[in-house]
């Protein structure tokens, strides 16, 4: 049965992007097209009237089966700046808790004339399941955006990170990029690694304690360091990951204080990186756990600009999908 499906459900028969599920398998030209389109959308958010009419009359459903205020809000803002109608479903608390299956929920929303689903789910692959289901129904006019599935992928975060790097560094070739922290549980890290390899970054370094680094096969093409001081040396971009407190309970780490001593980004440690290195973080930050306040608020941090860029990226993805 699976054989009848196209190998990459996010690309249609004409090679156009129809769902955004993962950066994996996205042709480089599509990634670049999203970044270029986002550059044009950046300006829209600076206008008095922060709106363009592209998605007027379209209904975008935010389906967050897992909480995330920031990601949901930026998707909502992006859709509204494109003039779409946005419906936020508090699915974590509604139908599913009454026993409805995911695909039954989707079928109901399709009957309500949904044009796009933005899906965040604790299970890896949930957005694929929905995209696959829509493809089988022959509803190529309905698009799915993965807003984070389990440990698997968070493609718009990966894209906004690439946008941020390109904004400050212009070109990926020659860049050394450090990703620091809980790589094992991070869908952001996974999406970033895929995107960075697609765009031709010179060196990707993964830095973290052994307990938070993934198995070898997941990190092909990267260099692994267990020492932050060693790994950060001469890097042009430092991407800090959020340390999720629940990892502490799982006995993967002794304490937040000890983690900060080894892997917290302080001004002294950052001084080992390239002098014009930028510091990124997907948020929300734990000050004093993975990042020192002095760095987070310092001149090299571009963390708040990432949030602004995230809206432009989501506008670009939505408008490219809805037009395909």
């Amino acid at each position: 049965m699976r054989n009848s499906l196209p190998p990459n459900p996010q690309i249609d028969a004409n090679g156009a992007l129809t769902h955004l599920l993962s950066i994996d398998g996205l042709p480089r030209e599509i990634v670049l097209n999203i970044l270029d389109t986002a550059s044009s959308f950046l300006e829209v958010s600076d206008r008095d009237v922060k709106k363009v009419p592209l998605l007027r009359g379209k209904s975008v459903f935010n389906l967050f089966f897992e909480n995330s205020t920031r990601t949901r809000t930026t998707f909502e803002i992006a859709a509204k700046r494109l003039s779409a109608d946005v419906i936020n479903l508090d699915v974590a608390r509604s139908s599913t808790s009454k026993g409805e299956t995911l695909l039954d929920t989707i079928d109901n929303l399709v009957s309500m004339h949904a044009d796009m689903f933005v899906v965040r789910h604790v299970s890896s692959g949930a957005p694929y399941l929905i995209a696959d289901h829509l493809n089988r129904l022959g509803r190529s006019d309905i698009h799915v955006i993965n807003a984070g599935d389990g440990r698997h992928a968070h493609p718009t975060q990966g894209l906004l990170d690439m946008f941020t790097i390109r904004h400050y560094k212009k070109d990926f070739s020659g860049l050394r990029i450090a990703i620091v922290g809980d790589i094992l549980h991070s869908r952001v890290a996974r999406s970033d690694i895929r995107a960075l390899s697609a765009l031709g970054a010179t060196e990707i370094r993964l830095i973290g304690p052994k307990t938070l680094l993934p198995a070898e096969m997941d990190i092909a093409g990267t260099r692994v360091f267990n020492s932050l001081r060693e790994g950060i040396r001469d890097c042009d971009v430092v991407i800090m990951l959020r340390l999720q407190s629940e990892r502490m309970n799982g006995a993967l780490l002794p304490s937040a204080r000890e983690y900060f001593n080894c892997y917290g980004l302080t001004p002294e440690v950052l001084a080992l990186a390239s002098p014009d290195a930028i510091v990124m973080h997907p948020g929300p930050m734990n000050r004093g756990v993975e990042i020192d306040s002095e760095v987070a608020d310092g001149p090299q941090a571009v963390i708040l600009n990432q949030v602004t860029f995230g809206i432009a990226i989501r506008m670009a993805v939505m408008s490219l999908l809805a037009g395909n």
């Binding site: 270029d36 206008r47 008095d48 709106k51 363009v52 009419p53 592209l54 408008s319 037009g323």
Partner: protein, 168 residues
Amino acid sequence: MPIDPFPDAEAQCTELAGLIRSRLKPGTLLVGIHSGGAWIARRLAELLPLPGEIGLIDVSFYRDDYGEKGLHPHVKPTSIPFDIENRPLILVDDVLYTGRTTRAAINELFDYGRPASVSLAVLADRGGRELPVYAEFCVWRVELDPREELILEPGADEKLRWRLEKHA
């Protein structure tokens, strides 16, 4: 009806500037539509007694064929580096045809404020209007077959030139 030879587009820009100069209102701002209109607007800004800065507009986010054709590739950022409120604007494009691009550009401009007036300056008017749009400033009126597309492009010497593309 073959066009041979094509008129000199650079000379047409000078001629267009002459048409505008005689009726130029004080405080006028130029806004070029990407990409042809942007090239022409840059030339007009040099030829006319206007402040140097021009606005550039990419109407991709306002087009009425998005539903059929999707987002145009290679969208450029719109940049309106001045306040358009109560100012006379001249929208500049290379070719006026259906009028839909002009409609989209006016739509977009009004998201930046309420200009005192908007007029349209083009090098070529090829007829075939589908909307009530009129170019106050135009140097070349030409009738073309709907399958023909008139394209303005800078050559290797950066001089603007016309060419005709035939579509099946």
